[in-house]
Every structure is written in C-alpha cells, then in structure tokens.
Amino acid sequence: MSDNSAHRLYVKVTAKKLAVVFVLLLALIGSIVAAICIGPVNIPPQTTIEIIFSKISPFSSHTNTIFDTIVIDVRIPRVLMALLAGMCLSTSGAVMQGVLRNPLASPYILGVAAGAAFGAALSMILGIGEWLGVYSVYLMAFIFAFVAIFLVYGLSKARATTTETLILAGIAVGAMFNAFVSLLMYVSGESLRSLVFWIMGGLWTSSWGTVIIILPVAVVGSVLLFGFSWDLNVMTLGDEAALSLGVNVKRRKVILLILSTLLAAIVISATGIIGFIGLVAPHIARMVIGTDYRLLLPTASLMGMLLLLLADTFTRTIVAPTEIPVGIITTMIGVPFFAYLLIKSKRSFWT
C-alpha cells in the first residue's frame, strides 16, 4: 500500500485512457485506408499505398494508372474533408458543451450550423461579399454562424439560462435559418439537389481546393482550443466557482465561443449541415475518457473523424453509384442518442 493513493490511481487511470486513445488512433488509420480503397471502383490496399508513396517519394518507379486519379483526386480529398469535418464539428461541440455547461449543446442544436449554411448559401447564390474572392463563402458562413449563436445565447439569457431555454432558442433560430436557406433556393430557382446539400449535408463536393483552405483554420483553431483545456475543465463548475479557481470566465467565454463557432462554420460552408456529429462524438468520448478536456478534446476529435468517415463511406457505397447525403445518416444515428441524453443526462456512464 502506497501512502499516496491519489497518485497511484491517477497514473493507472491515465495509462488506461492513453491506451484507449491509441486504439482509437489505430482504428482511424485502418478506416482511412479502407475508405480510400472502397467505392464504386474497389482498389486493392497494396495499390493504394503504392500510389500514395509514389506521390511522396521522388524516387518511385510507379507508372500512373486510372487508379491514381481516383485515389489522388477523388478519394483522398474526400477522406480528408470527412476527417476535417469530423474534427471541427466534434471539437466545436465539446467546447460549446463545456462553455455553456450544457450536455445538449452542439453546433447543430444551437442553430449555428443553420446560420453558417445560410451565410454560405447567401454568398454562393446572391454573390454577396464577392470582392473577398474564394474566402467570401467562408466569411459569410462565419458571420451568420456568429449571428446565430449570439441570437441563441441572448434569447436564452433574456430568461434564466437553463438547459431548456438554450435548446429551445437554438431550435427556433436553427429553424428560421433553415427556412431562409429554403426560401433562397426556391426564389433563385436552384435545383432541389443543392437544397438537399445545404439542409442535409454531403461530402461529394470535396476537392483539394477546399481542403487546402479549411485545413489551416481547422488545425490552428483546434490547437488553440486544446490550449484552453484547463479553463474548460474549470468552467464546467459554473462562473463563480471558476472565478474562485482563478479563471476569469467572461472574457474566456467569448473567445471560446468565437473559436468553436469558427470551426463549425468553416466546415459547414463546404459540406452543408451535417447534424449530430458535434453532439454525439464528444459524449462518446466522455464516456470512454472522462471529463478532463486535455484528453477529451483529442478523443472527441478522433471519435468525430472516425464516425463521420465511416458514415460517409457507408453513404457513398450502399446505393452506389448514387449516394445518400451523409447528414441523413448522422442524424439517424444522432437523434436516438439525443433522446437518450435527454432522459439520462445526469447519470454517469463509465465505471
């Protein structure tokens, strides 16, 4: 018996948690290779790895085939987009849940996703903000995502901020922006397919062009949020408890909400609204890893990437050569989970 049982327990639990992260990482790498190989044209894993190495190494004797085009120009950008979207949405959700102290918070539930989609659609269809070039879509998405979250936060604060008022305000604001998007589509004579894209989300527009723009923002934003892990840990105790632990909540709250909204908006402007990943991934992560944001944020990111990649691979192969919008699948998985959280939100999961 050591006389410092806290130390022993901490070391043991931390080792266990790191093992979980490692297993998750392996599962993700396996899924990435699988997702690149599987599709309307199946490519042997060996060929896939050969092609990837030939692009990295200058001394390759590899000769280009049709597989090269599929792997490099179609599958890899799509997989990368799924990974980026999964990472951003789940990081954003995990942070919003902590800052708002609300287990049901996520970009989708709080109407942020709908706001971003409206901003992006506005820019694409009406050409508002065109002078900003390629970035106009992203910037408009961010601005309206921002409008949405402050509308929701303000509305819920007008009365006492409870779980219910925040969620109700989110649903109201989300429904309003969704209606705006639909209106925009009908008035401008867009096809139903593009409406479906915005409302239900899809990764079929992924290209190296969008990946290159989103990647740096996603990585920098996620790393910055990761740096706030300890503050997030303390903020889940409430404003005054956090203050007496040395964390000035008011300023942090604004920074964290801006960053998490930015992450969600930049993804949604490229993929449309992919619901529930930002809610489900952080919770599954919390079940397996606990509440410490230093481990929770990386785990939630891995979980979000894995879930979205699997869901996307499923949607593009199950009814090939057409595909189902991935948002339909994530929502179908997410809604029962949401109901479960609503009922059991105060129970502990992990023993």
Binding site: D3, N4, S5, A6, H7, L9, Y10, V13, Q97, G98, R101, N102, P103, W230, N233, V234, T236, L237, G238, E240, A241, L243, S244, L245, G246, V247, N248, R286, G290, T291, D292, R294, K346, R347, S348, F349, W350
Partner: protein, 261 residues
Amino acid sequence: MKLAVKNISFNYNSVRVLKNLTLNVEGGEILSIVGPNGSGKTTLLRCINRAIKPREGTVLLEGKNVAKMNSMEIAKKMSTVRQSADTAFPSTVLDMVLLGRRPYIKWSVTPKDLEIVDRVMKLVDINHLTDRYLDELSGGERQKVTMARALAQEPKVLLLDEPTANLDVKNQLEILNIIKDLVKRENMAVVIAIHDLNLAARFSDKMVMLKDGAIVAAGSPNSVLTQSNIMKVYGVEVKILENISDAPYIIPLTLSPQRVN
C-alpha cells in the same frame, strides 16, 4: 491579519445591499456571519472573493488589496465553498478535487499536486471515494468533495457559504469539526455565512450579525447572541440556555407581536 474588510458598501439597482461593513479575521480564527434571509451574508462573501465589485471599500488579503491582484493570485490565497456544487458532466472525485490545483498547474499534473490532493482528501475523510463518480455520492459526501477542492488550493483564507445547509445532523457536525481542526492546524482564517445560530455559536470564535446589510452586533458568540439582539434582527422571542456547552443555545419561542423594522 489574514483578512481585513474595510468599509465595504455594495449597491444593487441603486438599493444599498451592504452598508459600510468592516471586519477582520486572524489566522486560526473562525468568523461566522449570521442574519436573516436577504440580510447580505452571501453578498458580503461575494464582495470578498471578487465575484462582485464593491461600490466602496477595500478587501485586504494578507495585507494586499484584492482589487490590485489578478484572479490567479487571489485563487492561490483564498478559496470559496458554495452550496450545491453541481457539474454539468459526470466526473470522478479525484478529477474534481484536482481542479483545486488549477491555480498552480501549468499543463501537466505533477506528483506534488497529487500529494496535496491525497492529503486534503484524507483531511476531509473522502480518500476511500477517490475513483467514485460525484452523482453516486450522498449530499454530505459531495459537500466534503467541494471542501477538499477548496483546500487543494492551499488557501490562507477560506470562505464558506452555508456549508451545512441540506445536511443531516451528523454531517453538519462532521463538516464543522473538520473546519475547526483545519483552522488551528493550518493557521487559516475562515469566514462562514450560516443560518443556524446554534451551530454558529458552537463553532465560531467571532460572530457578526447582519440586518439589511449593516452590522448590528459583532464580537464573541456570547455577546452577539443575546435576546435583545435576536429580537431586533429576527423579530423572534427566544430563550437562551447557558449551561448546555460552552456556547449559548438558542430556543426560538414566538414571533414578536409587533413587527420590528
């Protein structure tokens, strides 16, 4: 002087909630603040720990003005225990107590942090609960977890807001005994806002009685808890028993026939 509060006033919507309050607490001393609902007990604690900014007056923490300290500096010297510490997410006792080390932790948790966590958990007798989840614990156990978290900050001044509310008799005594032990051993200064006059009398060295944000009486429990003071502040007629223990024991009899203003 560990804690000195000088001429604190606070307004809420142009109503004066605290009126020119002054009090001092030395190391090893427990000061309890008593008074009816809405008399300003919690507001006073919130002014002391800078949750709100007093309109006038200063709070000196070991001689330093808290208005000139940043929140991390304050958190290393002063901690607060509130009622009902609720978290949004299920967390273990160890994780919760470890949060008390937040003012000291840069990123990694050091063996020293865990040593302190272990020590404070033993102090409040929850070291057998380390790996349990908070929502599996009783109210008394949860209050001890909150206390342990506050103690992990290694405070010189400890503020407690109704630490015994919603606890049964055994837990009330246990919590207050722990505080009393600690104060002497660690030479801390403790301020407790508390409703129960008998518990306050029994466990505090000094008392302050508030009414409508002003001090009506201050001093030893014996000098503060008199029939006339209680009549003046609460409007209740009481009988005071002197020979139960060394502290006075109050038995409420009737509401005063005239309303006291």
